[in-house]
Amino acid sequence: MAAETADTVPARRRLPSMSVLGPIVALVVLVLVGAFLNPNFVSAANITNVLARSAFIGIIAVGMTFVITAGGLDLSVGSMAAFIAGLMILVMNWALPTLGIGIPIILLGMAVALVAGLLAGLLNGFLITTLGIEAFIVTLGSMGIYRSLVTWLADGGTLSLDFGLRTFYRPVYFGGILGISWPIIVFALVVILGEILMSRSRFGRHCAATGSNEHVAHYSNVDVNRTRLLTYAMLGVLVGVATIMYVPRLGSASASTGVLWELEAIAAVIIGGTVLKGGFGRVWGTVIGVLILSLIDNLLNLTDLVSPYLNGAIQGIIIILAVILQREAKAKG
């Protein structure tokens, strides 16, 4: 949580090239190492796999970037995703006899996911902004609540989408256009919209101002509470979007769905260069962060290691190294 010292000009402004390069260099190094270890690493199939599976965390992490930029935090996204997935499956199974297999039921499921996400996000946001409780506590609480609810909905087991329905819904994850699968397309869209929103919209500026100094923002007629609330609501909706992609992939939800996604999303955001204490965020950096994290997992599967028990250690070391690399790049700049 080292803050920039007040009297150094952040490299980002003076020499944009270096800090832009920072995370990218880390990513490129990782890709090169991967390609060196196994040529299949850069095969189209593998790249599609990695990108498509990054989409869930990625979409969520884009939302998280806004929350963190505005000085907030959300620990509940993983269990929120599990809960929404469970709810979606329940509703779709329940509507199946009425609606039958077809587009309408899929649309219903999607609507449920988006609305549930929105409401969950608004609830977090309301408790944090209006009641003024620490985001950490609110979202730790709601993390427990959603996780419990999904366990309860599933009766301790797994909620499964009707098998026929699943087959029909499957293309939403596995299909695509022009050889690019849907999750990748949706992820790309979310990132582009997110980047525009962050760097070209009033809302993005208000987020940064709120996170940087809420009093100043308040004095400058920024509705601080509304801005924060919106970031949580937006994150909620994005969790819904991620879930829409997730359900066709696995067709089920259980107590173990989305475990630790929150940590992964936050880590991606920070690896990407967003400041944990708020005030500065960049969406494209988050994307790089997500890709770095996914690639680490992918790389570990590519190679035979001393012991799979040590995967976590290698992962930890690479994460730290990736961030050191960035800092070094910045420092040199």
Partner: protein, 293 residues
């Protein structure tokens, strides 16, 4: 000749039984790599179903596996991906948890979770002919746990045994210690405990010990951890028996798969590894002091 690649995908070692299973998987791979130089193994451990699907995708995309041995984290989410592997032409061995669509796998090495609960329940009923009050510690909320508990409950039905408390100890020693302490505070009389897992039994025993309570006659764990088997063998009255659920079934599955890949021996089908009651009489044959579990 071509090397063939066998992918092994299992849940990570997050609790005792899974740890044992991880150990056996690695041990089997090491052994088999020497025996069959033409085989290459890839082992991946996952901490949630999503990650397990990732692992399997990676194995297909980057390692071109010819066979997959999978112990599904959960049945439902793994069904479609494993089906895809099968459709890609690879051999599929499923271990312990069946997939939700039948007929995908070439080989199924099955554990018997309802059977595990049933054997435990039957033992309880037999050991307490006059009935009694028991508490139950459950595992991590999962289908497996549900099946075990259902099997147990139906086995004790009508035996006069009453379950006065049931909580999740998450297959974890510390959690079960806390839960048991609280059960002991809550109920002045507990006749027996179904800890349903040997790791949880460790915590339960420590709590009973510390409370100095002598109303609890015995604790029944499960899975066949070596320390527990030893106590059964030694005739410990608190641990009069244990019920197997051998983590080594993964090794069996890997080995059978290796055999299937390298020979023409018919290895497909279903091998059910039933749960067996360990008593002082047969304990010796279940005691492996060198195993980590």
């Amino acid at each position: 000749q071509d090397t063939q690649v066998i992918g092994v995908s299992i849940p990570a070692a997050t609790h005792g039984w899974a740890g044992g299973m991880n150990f056996h998987a690695q041990e089997a791979i090491e052994r088999l790599e020497e025996v069959y130089p033409q085989l290459d193994f890839v082992l991946a451990t996952a901490s949630d179903p999503g990650q397990q699907v990732n692992d399997i995708e990676d194995m297909v995309a980057t390692r071109g596996i010819d066979a997959l041995v999978v112990l599904p984290f959960e049945s439902e989410p793994l069904t479609a991906p494993v089906q895809a592997v099968k459709e890609g032409g690879a051999w599929v061995t499923v271990v312990d948890r069946g997939l939700s669509v039948e007929g995908i796998e070439d080989l199924y090495v099955a554990g018997d979770n309802p059977g595990f609960g049933r054997v435990s329940g039957e033992y309880m009923a037999e050991k307490m002919p006059d009935g009694g009050k028991i508490v139950v510690l459950r595992g991590i909320p999962t289908t497996i746990d549900n099946e075990r508990v259902e099997g147990f409950e139906s086995a004790i039905e009508g035996s006069g045994i009453e379950i006065i408390g049931m909580e999740h100890g998450n297959w974890n020693r510390d959690d079960s210690f806390n839960v048991m302490q609280d059960f002991l505070s809550k109920y002045p009389q507990i006749d027996a405990v179904w800890a349903s897992d040997d790791d949880m039994a460790v915590g339960v025993l420590a709590a009973i010990d510390a409370a100095g309570r002598d109303d609890v006659q015995f604790v029944l764990g499960g899975a066949g951890m070596k320390e527990m088997v030893k106590r059964v063998m030694d005739g410990d009255t608190m641990i009069p028996a244990d019920v197997t659920y051998p983590p080594s079934m993964i090794a069996t599955a890997i080995e059978l798969t290796a055999v299937g890949m390298t020979s023409t021996a018919p290895v497909s089908g279903t091998f059910t590894i039933g749960s067996v009651l360990i008593t002082p009489d047969n304990a010796e044959s279940f005691y492996f002091p060198d195993s980590p579990f």
